[in-house]
Amino acid sequence: MLQDYLNDYWPIAILLLLTTLLGIVAIGLGYLFGPRRSNKRKNAPYESGMSPIGPGTRQLPVKFYIVAVLFILFDIEVVFLLPWAVIFKKFVDEGLGNFVLIEMIIFLGILLVGYVYAWKKGAFEWD
């Protein structure tokens, strides 16, 4: 009937559905029972009581983009580490532990160079 492989994922789908439903119901309850007395002042963006100045969304410091790029870089490193970690013990059992360990050290060594470079160039500073 249902494939075995998918059997592991159906519960998640059902849970996802139930949770989303819960969220929608919760928001719906608020709209159902909450009062609606809106006026222009109340709906203005909150700026500590002052009249809002300029648009709410504006350009962000480029710092955040650098963090995002670095994140992608190092996240991929982590993603490569995970399968390596899974098979590591099997290699150790076959006597190839040093080999896979050195392999990973080379791979991470290259990334480490980039990390040190980013550090020296001030990518992690927040002035």
Partner: protein
């Protein structure tokens, strides 16, 4: 699946370049501002060491990493070519980068990585490795194109090159997927075995080959995949343009030759008409549009497109192994000729370029021949070489190429090649006329390294013509083991 240190030694030149560049990143990060020039010297030193290793390795035949990389005459020819080009490109960049205020060590490190990618391309014998090498070659080029920060043209060039290059990379990857689907292998020799054993879906294989051809066509700037070339060449810092004109072409053709010679000889009947059209289009469009250009960088960009067309001609005698051997050798020789001539002419462009894109129009060259006769004569030699007029290496390249193509029986294309060469004479020699016949007061920026590159290229263009027979013999030797 294991490998040993022998694999590393077999690809020693590439390993040297990669390790050196990686170490240089750290050096660059820790050097105080005052000593940044050391990076440049270290780059040159690394390239020289790798060049020595590559020359030392000449004549060795080996496999590395379970056949994913192959070391043979072909790869060592191209390694020597690209390493030499790299040294010339560094020399061109030093003064220019300082002059325009983006004098940073990362430029040279990026170039080293790109060189490493090109070297890997020349010895890659696995489609996945070819793709990785291609990206290693291209990504630094995108950065180099955008290196003149704050200059809109340079940023546009980097962006355009990046988007289209990524697009081309997608084509290649998709093609690799198709080939893998059809044959169940990514190693070139396994692909051949699978094809010879009969493929279930020849269409898939053909589609894959065509997609790879398209993707690499982007890289070598063949029409109709050339749209990025003029803009990128114009916007990039000129030394970066000089390097990418040669580096990307060497890498692209290395992969094209390796893939199509080794893996797809059986597809020749299907691919030859496509290649014929590609070559004809590239020759005609490249040479005709170049005539209309007023900016020298754009003119040289279209000229480099047309030279890609000439090199692509070598692919036509595809099914005929005997002729193909000499035509591929001719292509290698042509690449060498193009590289030398190209670096020389870009050197002249750099000598004349002023800030804010001044000094790049053809009329800015008026009077150059009278005021600076040596530079004028050098440019004359390069233009003659580009056109293919003796006594220059460009003539030898075209001669050998046309000869090989005619041996293959493609007389129509050979005639087209000669005709478009005549067209090209118009715009190449027009520059010469402007330089020598028109009056003007050009000012050059004195830069001893650029002068050195220009002078030595001019000398080499003539001298290598004299020794073109042994050079071609070397190229023939290089492709011997490919088939």
């Amino acid at each position: 699946m294991l490998y040993s240190m022998d694999d590393m030694f077999n690809i020693l030149p590439t390993v040297i370049v990669v390790a050196w560049a990686t170490a240089l990143i750290l050096v660059e990060a820790f050097l105080p501002k005052k000593y940044k020039f050391i990076t440049i010297w270290l780059t040159v030193l690394g390239l020289v060491v790798a060049l020595v290793a590559a020359i030392n390795q000449h004549g060795i035949e080996a496999e590395a990493f379970n056949g994913m990389l192959v070391v043979d005459g072909f790869s060592s020819f191209l390694n020597i070519l690209i390493l030499g080009s790299g040294i010339l490109a560094v020399a061109l960049a030093v003064g220019y980068n300082k002059r325009f205020g983006f004098d940073r060590g990362e430029y040279y490190i990026m170039m080293m990585f790109s060189i490493a990618g090109t070297m890997l391309m020349s010895s890659a014998a696995d489609l996945i490795v070819i793709f990785l090498a291609l990206e290693l070659m291209s990504i630094p080029l995108y950065i180099m194109a955008a290196f003149y920060r704050g200059n809109v043209n340079s940023e546009e060039a980097g962006m355009k090159y990046f988007l289209l290059g990524a697009f081309a990379g997608g084509f290649i990857l998709y093609g690799i997927g198709f080939v893998y689907g059809a044959t169940g292998a990514t190693g070139l020799s396994q692909v051949v075995t699978a094809i010879n054993g009969g493929v279930d879906s020849p269409t898939f294989l053909l589609v894959g080959a065509a997609l790879i051809l398209i993707g690499l066509g982007f890289k070598v700037a063949a029409v109709p995949f050339h749209m990025w070339t003029p803009d990128v060449y114009e916007g990039s810092p000129t030394p970066a343009t000089a390097y990418m004109a040669v580096g990307a072409k060497v890498g692209g053709f290395a992969a094209l030759i390796r893939i199509f010679v080794v893996a797809f000889p059986t597809l020749s009947t299907d691919l030859v008409p496509i290649l014929w059209g590609l070559v004809a289009l590239t020759l005609v469009v490249g040479n005709l549009v170049a005539i209309a250009q007023k900016n020298i960088k754009r003119m040289l960009a279209y000229s480099s497109i047309s030279h890609a067309g000439f090199i692509l001609m070598a692919f036509l005698p595809y099914g005929d192994a005997a002729v193909f051997k000499s035509s591929v050798a001719a292509a290698l020789f042509y690449l060498l000729a193009f590289a030398i001539t190209s670096f020389g002419s870009w050197g002249v462009v750099i000598a004349l370029e002023k800030s804010e894109g001044k000094g790049l129009l053809l009329e800015d060259y008026a009077g150059l021949g009278r005021k600076y006769p040596a530079l004028g004569v050098a440019m004359l030699i390069f233009m003659l070489s580009f056109t293919g007029i003796p006594p220059t290496i460009g003539f030898a390249g075209k001669f050998l190429l046309f000869k090989a193509v005619m041996e293959g029986g493609y007389y129509g294309l050979a005639i087209l090649g000669v005709l478009t060469s005549l067209f090209s004479a118009y715009y190449y020699l027009r520059l010469v006329i402007i330089m020598f016949m028109k009056s003007g007061e050009p000012n050059i920026v004195s830069d001893r390294w650029v002068t050195l590159v220009t002078a030595s290229s001019a000398v080499a263009t003539v001298v290598l013509f004299m020794v073109s027979t042994p050079l071609f013999a070397w190229a023939e030797q290089a492709v011997l083991k490919l088939f």
